[in-house]
Structure formats: C-alpha cells, structure tokens
Amino acid sequence: MDADPQTADLAPSHDDAASARLKGWLEDYRPFTDAPDELAPPDGSTPEPWLRFLRAVAAYPEGEFAERFALATRHIRDAGVSHRIYGEDSERIWPLSPMPLILAEKEWTEIAAGVEQRATLLEAVLNDLYGEGRLVSDGHLPAAAVTGSDDFVRAMRGVKLPGGKPMHLYAADLGRGPDGRWWVLGDRTQAPSGAGYALENRMVLSRAFPHLYNAMNVERLAPFFSDFRANLTAAASRTDPRICLLTPGPFSESYFEQAHLARYLGFLLVEGDDLVVRDGVVYVRTIAGLKRADVIWRRVDADFIDPMELNSSSHLGVPALLEAIRAGGAVVSNMPGSGVMESNALLSFLPALSRRLLGEALKLSNVATWWCGQPAERELVERNIDTLAIAGAFGGKAHLAVARGPRLLADLSPDERSALRVAMHERPVDFVGQEVVRLSTTPTIRDGKLQPSPFILRVYAARTEDGWRIMPGGFCRISDQKDARALSMGAGAQASDVWVIAEKPVEKISLLAQRDGARVRRITGNLPSRAADNLFWLGRYLERAESTLRVVRSLCTSLMDPDAATHSAGETLDKLKGLLVDSGAVEEQSLGHRVTDVAQAALYDEEAYGSVVSQVRSARRAAASMRERLSEDFWKRLLSLEARLKEEKQIRMSESAGLEQAETALQDLSTLSGLTQENMNRVAGWRFLDMGRRIERGINTSRLMRKLADEDATIDDLDLLLDLIDSQITYRSRYLEGISLTPVRDLVMLDPYNPRSVAFQVITLKAHIAALPVLQDDGMPEEPTRLLTRLACQVEVQGAAALDGPQARAFEHMLLDLSDSITDRYFLQGANATPTKKLGGLA
C-alpha cells in the first residue's frame, strides 16, 4: 500500500486499516463535558483541517507515526534542546507533543486582529506612562496601579527612546473560554520567551511529517522573524548595526532558546560582562578591543539591567546602560520598564483604556479582573470572594499563598486562607480578584489514544514601521491535568507546535535575505572575548581528556601484554599510574588499588578533577556557554560522549573492557577534532579552540618527555613515551635501528614535521597569533607574540642531545606564560577587565 500521506490526504483513504484507525480515534475521543474542544465543536462536526491531519496520520502504517515522531524528537534531545530549571545542573528534556494545535485561517484572522489591537494599545499606554502620564493625571488609571510594579522604571520617564519604539516584540497568552471565544490571560511585554521554542517545534514536526506539513498549507514562521530582525536593524542609527541578544547566561531557564534565536537571527549572544558603556555608547568586548553594540535585545529583566541605577546587586547587567539609552547611544529593546504592562492590576483598566485611546472595544477580552486598590472594586471582590480567584496585583510577591499564581480561597488551607484575608485587608493595593478562567482542550496522544488536554496559546507580535506583524503560529503549552481551569496549568506541561492552515497554498520562504539586499561578507564581526575564552578552554579540556585516555589505554595494554620480557611491567605500570596522579585523574591513595580499578577511576571518577569524565564535563560546560558558535553535530557528539562516560562507570571493568572504552572515547574525541577541522570557519573562533589544544598538547608533551626521556630512561620508557604521544609509527619508519634516547627526544620535542611534537605546536601557535587582530597600530608586538617568538627561536636552535629535563621544563613554563598572556590580552578576566566590585560601604 502507498503510505504517502500526501496521496492519502488527497483522496479519502481506501485503506481499511487506516479508516478503522481514524474512526476508532474519533469515536473514542471523550472531550471534557465542561470545556470546549478544538476537535469537537458544539455542532458535532469534526473541523476540516483536523480531519485532514488525522486522516493522514491514520494512513501511516501501524507504528510509523510514533516512530517518525520519536526520530525527530531524538534529534532535538541529542541537539540539547531542553531547558534548564534554574539552579539545577542537569538539563531537563523538554517534552513536545506529536500533535500540533491546528487553527483554520478564519479563526486565526480574528486572533491576529485581537493581538494586533492589544499590542497597539499596550504600546500607547507605555508611551503615556513613560511620557506625559496623562492617563494617570486625567484619572483613567490610578497611579498606585502602576507604581506597584517592579518593572515600572522611574528612571525611564521622559527619556526619548533611541529607535523610537518601546516594544519590538510582544506576546499574549490566550485561552479559549467556555463560550468558544478567545481570551487574553496575560501579556508578555518585558522579554517574551518561547518564540525560539516555537521555531524548534516547527522544525521537529516539519521534519517528522514533511509531506503532511507541505500538503496542509501550514503558514510559515520565517517571514515573521525576518521582519522582526529587519525592524530591530532599522531601529539602529548605523546602517550595518551590531545587534546583541543580552542573556542572563547559561543558568537561565531559557538559555537554549536564547542561543537558538541568536544563531537563527544572526545576533551576537552576549552576557552583561561582555558589554561596557563608555561616553554613553555601548560596546562589546572583543578580541580586537571594544566594538560598538547598536541594538541590545534583552532577555534580562529591567531591574537587573543596570547596577549603577537599578538593582545594584545585579551581576547580569551593564553598568550605565540607562545612561547610554538617555544619551541615545544604544537601542535597548524592549525598553527597560516595558514589563510594567504585565501586572494583573492593569488588566482591570485595559477595556476602558482601549475605548479611550483607540476608540474601540477590545477585540479579545482579557480575564475579568478587579484591582482591590479601589473601594468599589474591593467591595465587589469581597462580596464574591468564594467564586473569584485571588492573585497578586503585581505578581506573586504580594503573598505567599498567591506566589505561584491565582488561587481560589477554597483551595487554600485554613491557615493560608486567613493569612491571605488579613493581608488583603491590610494592603488591598497588592491584590486583584479574577474571574476563574476555564480553558478549552485540544487533542493529544496519550497511551496510543486521542485525549483532550487543556492548553494555553502564546501569540507573538513584532513591531514594524507600519504597525504590528503577528507570527502565524505560536507556542502552545499543554497541561497534563484533567482540570481545565487556567489556574491549574502548572509544571509538567508539554509544548506543541501551532499550525495555522491557510486557505490558499503558502509560499515557501525561509530566512533568506532579499535577492538584491544581500551584502557579501566573509567574517561576521569580531569575536567576543568571552567566546574566545570558552573556545580556548574547550580546546584545552578536550586535549587533556585525550592525553589521559592515552595513559589509560597504555595502562590496559600493559596489563594485557603476554610477553612480560618486553615490558618490565611493574615499573611501567607505576610510571603510568604516577602520570594519572600528576594530572589529577586519580587520587594518590588509590595507587595501591588494582590496576584496572585505577584505570576505571581515571576514566569515570566524577570527583577527580582530572579524570576523563571530568574533563569532558568541563569541555561541555565551556561549550554550553557558546552553543550558538558550535555546529549541532559537534554539540551532539560531545553530549553523547559525556553521557556514555557517565553511564559506563557502573560496570566493574576488565582490562580489555577498559581498553575498548578508552579506544571508543579516543575515537569520539578524534571525531570532535575532525569536525572542528573540517567544519569550522577559519576565523578567530577556530584559532582560539586550536590554540587551547596546541598549548595543552605542548605542555603535556614536555611533561611526558621529562618523566619518560630523562637521562636514565629505559627502552620501555621511551617506547611508552612514543605510544603516549602517538608517534610510534613515525619513529619506527624513520629509525630502523631501534629506540634510543636522542632521536626520541628530537621527534617528541623538536621535530617540526611531527604534528605531535612541541616544535609543531609552537609553529602552529605562532601562525594563529599572527592572524589575530592587534589593539594598537604602532607596529609593536603584543605580549603573546613576544613570548612566542622567543620560544620559537629557542626550540628551533635547540639540539636534541643537549635537551635535558630542565630545558624541557623551561619550554613548559614558557607555554604556561603564553597561556597567561593570552588570557590577559584577549579574555574578559584579563588585565583589561579586572573583576568589578561595588563602590559602597559607609556613606
């Protein structure tokens, strides 16, 4: 049978099994009795787009639908699409539903019009609050309904905004009420999250069901993002502006999303420390010095954005950023203070404000809300206290009982209830009463069956020159609760893609620049210092892991060697174990343990900082804070290597198993290094990654040479050294007469043709440094260049016979100094940027 869903979609399925499946699904589907459902409208019909989707799904042979989805989902899991719960080290896998939320164009048009109107309204209110304040002084909005918000940033009042617009991205959370109409549950005006997840969800579903996706005329998301980017670009005062996405950092719950968006939109992902304000202009710290940052799209909350003027304990912000905004030196979007529109207190005033400012009623009602700061409203809430939900007027800080969202008094414990009543009596301004919203449901697949699940839809709007553009789609969160009240939407929610079905075929567009607008460029700007730092250390950790793996491999091979005469086994083993202790891979007291136990610890002991698993973990952490710069393949490999090392440690290891595991891990590392060699652009980032590797390899090789090729080195020692630095074959092909000290030293340390020698690392490092930008144009060499030139000369003129331990140590120290001078010159914590501290204390 032809399982192509496209054909299945065009004609009613003639496959009996498929029809039976579809029929079964629809017959077994049991929507809640008290909530409308997307698949089962009141008239008893099944909406056409849903029917097309389900028919196509049913046409897949048994199991294929699930399999396709599982494959695509695995793709996201492997790529690390997951969001981090703050304070948790491990990343939670982020669940996606295989069923999209499907909305017909007709319905979508209404939603879009409503969201567009609301964005227009909120923008007008923002402009007034931070401008003349007429809405307050004319009595349309009590001042105290505004000032309670932590996001009312007084310092922004009266500031002429560079770029002119207070918001470039807005989102509304919608739910469908019992009467089938859409309701606004809340506004996201500060830094709406989730748009990146929407993109990712779309990628997964379109990859899992490509024919279906194409056949159903699903509206594309790319034009929306393209518009958003164009308008941020237009907000800047220069024609080719640098746009930064300011992130709170890798511990932020939605860091992945931010990294993903930055890469997709071509923005520079920066943290507060990356930026600096000088004379009212914002700059990025890069390896080429300070470079202007024109637009800052922030994901850091306003209160944390400028420790000089706002929360002084913030480490996430940029000192004097507000000064830069006032001076017109940077567009910061959404404007600090835009978050004031998110408070519940304002919800109660928006219907009237809409009539006043826009001359029309709200197209999408918001949840009916009464702010208790007003006597009449307070009385109304008191009268209906048992049927209304109580919420903080300005977020959860009002009272512990409502810290996590609106609550019904009936759902509280008696103690909580009376404490809440007292608080409402003492400070009514902190509370609102809200109508209890019931959500509609949408079908999801659970246990192989279609099940109704309550959902909330987040819709995004981007500001363009002539109004707002709505993303045709969105971010849909699905509850796993059987309760359709909005207030029970909590943790444990799934996400789903949102398909807006066009009536006519949609044009296929992706984020490609207009044919005439594209300017050719080969380098995308200067590398930020932080990224350079992380890449450098990524290189160092990977190289360390590799060298430890080689020691473990030799340890296991020595044990397996049947010919004890070729290896004076005991001594060699002791030396190898000594190397593992020196590198921090195992603790000294474990030396007495069985050799296989030592090898096992060196591979898997997460407590030891030098073990392979620890080095790989450090590498992953360095990589995580600049995920947008690494290819997906690289990241996937690195994650799976770490995961495997963590899994394998359970098993008690034999020497042959140890050998195999070390070999596999070495192969993974060489794949990673192959990926960087073959796929990374030969720009500064690649150079820092490679420099980290080269410095580490040079240091390590010098160390090994001192231990294993000193004056009384045995043949076994030299043999081992050649193994550890992977130069056995080179040596044997070059010196047929067998192993002796001077040729080994030359090959290991001085031979510029051997890619494992110290000389080779130095030459490569020199080329890297020479290709990097300089700060001054006075022609003087910078410190790393000076150090490296001296080292290169010394290595070049050194003779192998005279190369003893102390000389090798001198090379090693010069490499360590080089690493320090690279840190000082290029990275954030270098001399150019010693740690900031607060000026304060007594005053």
């Binding site: 609050l129 304040g133 307050v136 002084s137 004319d138 009595g139 009590p142 001042a143 105290a144 505004v146 000032t147 309670g148 007084r154 310092a155 009042r157 004379d279 420790p307 000089m308 003027e309 929360n311 002084s312 000192p319 004097a320 000064e323 006032r326 700061g373 007003q374 006597p375 300005f394 800080k397 003492e426 400070r427 009514p428 301004v429 902190d430 940027a833 010693t834 740690p835 900031t836 501290k837 607060k838 000026l839 304060g840 204390g841 007594l842 005053a843």
Partner: protein, 309 residues
C-alpha cells in the same frame, strides 16, 4: 537657619584601581523648605568625565568616571544651604491614617513626589507581619496620622538601642528589628516597612542633622554624620511630614535633606563600580556648621568619624 556642609569620603585601595564609575548624591535637595546657596563636589584624582542629572525622585546625581590608576579616591562635597522648614504647628495632626491610605491609593499623579511611589515594599524594606503588627499598635483605627506616626517614632527611640556595630549598610529592616538595635538607617527602614505594611506612603530621607555641642564645649569638626529619617505622606492637606525615629523628633529646621527615595538604595550618597583586584577601606567625615557660628571649615584638623548616625 543657614548651614555650611562638608562631606568628605575617602576610599583607599590595597591595589591600584584602573577605572571607577561613581554616582554621587551629595548635592542637597532644592525645594520650598530648603534653598541651596552654593554647592560643589571635588574629586581626586580628577575625573575624566563628569555629568549631572536629576534622579528618579528629583535628587541631583553627579556621575563621574575616573580612569587614571589610583590607590586613593577622595570625594569632597561642600554646600551652603538655607533651611526654611518650620515646625509643625500644634493641632495640625492631619486626617485619620485610614483616610490617608485611601487617598494615597487613589492618587492621580506620577510626579516624583507622588505618594503612589512610596506605598510598596522594596528589597530593603520588605513587609513583615511582625513589623506591621508592631506598628499597628500605634495605629488604632481612626487615629490621626501625625499623632500615630510620632507615637511610633517615640516608641522606636525608646525600645531600640543605638548600636553602630549591630548592622551593616546592607542590612534589611527585619534583622535590625529582631535584634532591636541598629543605627538611623535601620530605624528608618523599620518604620518605613511598618508604615507601608499598613498601606501608608513612607519615604526614606538621607541628609544631615545639626548637632548641638555639649554646653561650654566647641563643636568638634568632622564629628557630625550623615543621617536618615522617614517622610510620611499625611494626606493632601499636610503633604509630606518628616519623622526622625532615631531622635523621636518631628523634622524641622535642624535637618538638611540630601535626597528622598524608597529606601537607602535609592538615595545612597555614594554608589558605583570600580575595576580593581584589591580590598578597599572607606573613611567618611561630615561637618554641619550652622551659618551663625564663626568657626571656619578651612582648617585641615580632621577627625575621622563613623558616618552612619
């Protein structure tokens, strides 16, 4: 009453600082109760950039950037101020506090001195049921707002111990409240937290207090200090009235206002960030000399004093 003010802050660093960005709120407030006659700030080493702006509650903020490496940073602020604030006349006790609360919640102004800015808690003045309960004992329903607030300020003076070693500049109200000790900043924060707990608009004021030398002794130079107290909005008719819980006083001609905000963080006389690896020590000296005293401020015989009163 006219005052000559001198406020010198000296930071000393164990290692050279290469870059400092500071925000100074050291220029006294200009307003109907107070006229600034002259005012100047001298920074050593000299800043490469100096700007003045009006802060969020109308205070004058001087921002300075010092980018010459230095081991010592000295900031000297001098001003001559005429204070016209009269004592509250007996009998002017304002509306009942319950009415004041409703009036504040209904305010139709976002101006810098609107009571609406001062109703809500901040990081240093979080609400706490224990503090609110403590304050409630002075605020019986219907009691006049001035009377109740003064009673509260007297109660704090009586029941709390002045102890400069009990708290730090960053100590939140609740710690000092539990310990029943602290300095002016703590007493002001406690009083503010409690008043806001009742929904009343209370502000934090930083400034100076004229000290009266013991009879027959000359005023000691530099022995004065910065001070802090509470402004309470007492309804449209009375407006803002100052209460000094450290001294159980209603604020009048002896207090000079530097800046008003929601808590210490809003008005800190000195704030900012420096780039430098070492430790720092701070010394502060303050002189508040009434204009009719002949003593000159030019002589350099400074006595360093703790600054927080």
């Amino acid at each position: 009453m006219n005052y000559k003010l001198r406020h010198v802050t000296t930071y000393r660093y164990s290692k050279a600082v290469t870059f400092a960005r500071c925000a100074l709120r050291l220029t006294p407030q200009q307003g109907p109760d107070q006229t600034v006659l002259t005012s100047s700030i001298t920074i050593t080493p000299p800043p490469s950039r100096l700007q003045e702006r009006i802060g969020q509650f109308g205070e004058r903020v001087v921002t300075a950037i010092i980018d010459t490496p230095h081991r010592e940073l000295r900031i000297e602020a001098r001003s001559d101020v005429a204070v016209h604030r009269a004592s509250l006349l007996p009998g002017f006790t304002g509306a009942s506090w319950d009415c004041v609360r409703e009036e504040a919640a209904a305010s139709v102004s976002l101006d810098m001195i609107s009571p609406a800015h001062f109703i809500y808690p901040t990081a240093m003045t979080r609400l706490n049921p224990a503090i609110t309960a403590y304050v409630t004992e002075c605020f019986q329903p219907g009691r006049s707002v001035v009377e109740a607030a003064h009673a509260l300020s007297c109660r704090i003076k009586a029941e709390f111990t002045y102890d400069p070693d009990a708290t730090l500049v960053s100590t939140p109200a609740i710690h000092a409240f539990k310990a029943r000790r602290g300095v002016c900043q703590d007493f002001a924060h406690i009083m503010i937290s409690g008043l806001r707990g009742l929904g009343l608009p209370a502000a934090y004021v930083s400034g100076y207090l004229r000290t009266i030398p013991p009879p027959g002794k000359p005023r000691l130079e530099g022995a004065d200090a910065t001070h802090a107290w509470v402004d309470l909005w007492c309804g449209k008719a009375l407006g803002w009235v100052g209460f000094d819980p450290t001294n159980a006083l209603i604020v009048a001609g002896d207090h000079v206002v530097l800046a008003v905000g929601r808590d210490y963080a809003d008005v800190a006389p000195m704030g900012g960030v420096v780039l430098g690896p070492g430790d720092q020590t701070i010394e502060v000296a303050v002189d508040v000399v009434p204009g009719n005293e002949t003593q000159t401020l030019e002589d350099e015989a400074w006595r360093w004093a703790r600054s927080r009163a």
